[in-house]
Amino acid sequence: MSALLSPIKKRRKPRIGRYVRIISGVFACLVFLFPVFWMVLTSFKMPRDIFTTPPTFIFAPTLETYTSYFFHADVPRRMFNTVIVAFGAGLVSIFAGAMAGYALARIKLRGAATIGVLILLSRGVPPIALAVPMFLVARNLGLLDQHITLILAYCTFLIPYVMWLMRGFFKALPAELEEAALLDGCTRMGAFFRIIVPISMPGLISTLIFSVILAWEELLFALVLTNRNASTIPVAIAGIAGDTVNGANWGALTAVGTLTVIPVVIFALIVQKWLIQGLADGATKG
């Protein structure tokens, strides 16, 4: 494409520059991937292969750490909790946030611009300012350590996030799309669900995935609001990483870390086109 459009540019620019860019770009990518690679590698090592100088690259892989820590750190239950809470919070937020985003994008309200700024500001509310009262209220209502509490807590940052992204997304759609339907007697709500939602699927899905990932990896609310029944995987990792009594348990850390990260990585890579598009839109539209 660029060669067709700009023969001049091509002749002037030495080819070397392009190769330098490609090679250093690939190098940067490898540097950024290395810690993840090392984590996965370490999770398959025996302790005697972990604590060595120089570090071991070649070793007999073992599932030892996985089998011994899987039940030890209450991993299955935590994994189950994390899935419930992440998808629960993601779905509630996309439902409420997308509708509100649509309203902000289309309905002419006097204070629409102000509301827009308020949403963005609400994304800056420090979670600790919410965690303290939520803990106290949940404690007095007997709602500590329950999935629903964590789901509601995650709505505090997910709904504004979804509203912001989807408002930009809906604004970019031509208004004529629903106008015909509205003239035919369709309600706003009907037009939204029958016309806007189907054509916005890519945007909705990428936003949903982002929301699920954000909830999946959240730590502060999970630490404060749960302790056993509804506790999530990040809490377990914080516990292992911060365990100064038993010393560095790198096997457990990397094994549980790998279990946490790999599903999300696979998930994200499958939908990477939409994710990248969503990121780009999130910054440019709105």
């Binding site: 459009l5 001049i8 540019k9 392009r18 860019r21 770009g25 940067a28 990518c29 810690p35 090392w38 984590m39 604590f51 100088t53 570090p55 509630v92 439902f95 409420a96 946030g97 509708m99 509100a100 902000l104 309905i107 963005l120 609400s122 994304r123 800056g124 509310v125 420090p126 600790i128 300012a129 919410l130 965690a131 303290v132 009262p133 106290l136 209220v137 509601l152 505090t156 709904i159 990896e217 730590l219 502060l220 990040p234 990792i237 914080a238 292992i240 990483a241 911060g242 850390l253 870390g257 946490t260 990260v261 999300v264 990585v265 890579l269 990248i276 990121l279 780009a280 910054a283 440019t284």
Partner: protein, 279 residues
């Protein structure tokens, strides 16, 4: 509109109001109710607390070091990986990976990589004839360590936004400038940068909104230490509230941080609007 409004009122507005109330009260640790009104006492105690000021300073240092670094690296790497070749899509997709590693995992794994004794980073530095560094134990290095981990986690996010932004730049303007004989630096300074400025500002704000919440990485990697060297404000308030059970003082601190964050975010928003209008 209404489900979101109701939810946000319940889970966002009400807790903020509740925090405000506790911050002017004494919390009875027997009933966990805020029963006695104490006026500005909690705020006075906070202002006189050296560790609170230290924590603000630590957070400020982190923000001032990390945000510009991530912006420059993010756009720089975006320029590199935008070079047109077969593997471009793959490289870009792979950059998603650090971005979806849970921050708490990132903190833990980097703690392992930077371990003074068994860590891989010090081993690699040895190849360049460098002495092993105490990344996590040396108070002045620990802040750098925090910044490095955070930069690893967040630069890909900036990179992915920047790749899209760079690709959307109008080609003809650059060609015209090249025909006019403008050099590389001049093109960058008078065309690329001004065209990118609005998106740089927008990316900065999104990144800022995330960075002020810094908690997970600090907790997992350094736990605020050594001493108070990396005790960012969210971690500090968390410990004051849930370890020392000083809920009322923590609420006062949280209110101060809330107002500070809102004011700064507001200033950045106005700044970015101005940049957009100038175009």
């Amino acid at each position: 509109m209404s489900p979101a409004t109701i939810l946000l009122l319940v889970v966002l507005a009400y807790p903020i109001f509740y925090t405000l109330r506790i911050s002017f009260a004494e919390l009875n640790l027997g009933t966990f109710e805020a029963d006695t009104w104490v006026g500005w006492d909690n705020y006075l105690a906070v202002v006189e607390n050296d560790r609170f000021w230290n924590s603000l300073k630590v957070t400020g240092t982190y923000l001032i070091l990390a945000l510009p670094l991530q912006m420059v690296l993010g756009f720089g790497i975006a320029f590199l990986i935008n070079a047109n070749w077969k593997g471009r899509g793959v490289v870009r997709a792979l950059f998603i990976i650090p971005m979806v590693v849970a921050p708490v995992v990132a903190g833990g794994v980097w703690r392992m990589l930077l371990d003074p004794l068994w860590g891989l980073v010090n081993y690699l530095l040895g190849f360049f004839g460098l002495e092993p560094l105490d990344w996590l134990g040396n108070p002045s290095l620990a802040m750098m360590t925090l910044v490095i981990i955070d930069t690893w986690r967040w630069t890909p996010f900036v990179t992915l936004i920047a790749t899209a932004a760079l690709l959307s730049l109008p080609r003809d303007v650059f060609e015209a400038a090249q025909i006019d004989g403008a050099n590389w630096w001049r093109i960058f300074w008078s065309i690329t940068l001004p065209l990118l400025l609005p998106i740089i500002a927008a990316t900065f704000i999104v990144r800022w909104l995330g960075a002020v919440k810094m908690f997970d990485i600090a907790l997992a990697a350094t736990n605020g230490g050594p001493g108070q060297a990396t005790n960012v404000i969210n971690l500090f308030i968390y410990e004051e509230a849930f370890r020392s059970l000083k809920f009322a003082e923590s609420a006062a601190m949280a209110m101060i941080i809330l107002v500070l964050t809102m004011v700064l975010t507001g200033i950045f928003l106005v700044g970015s609007r101005k940049l957009e209008e100038r175009q």
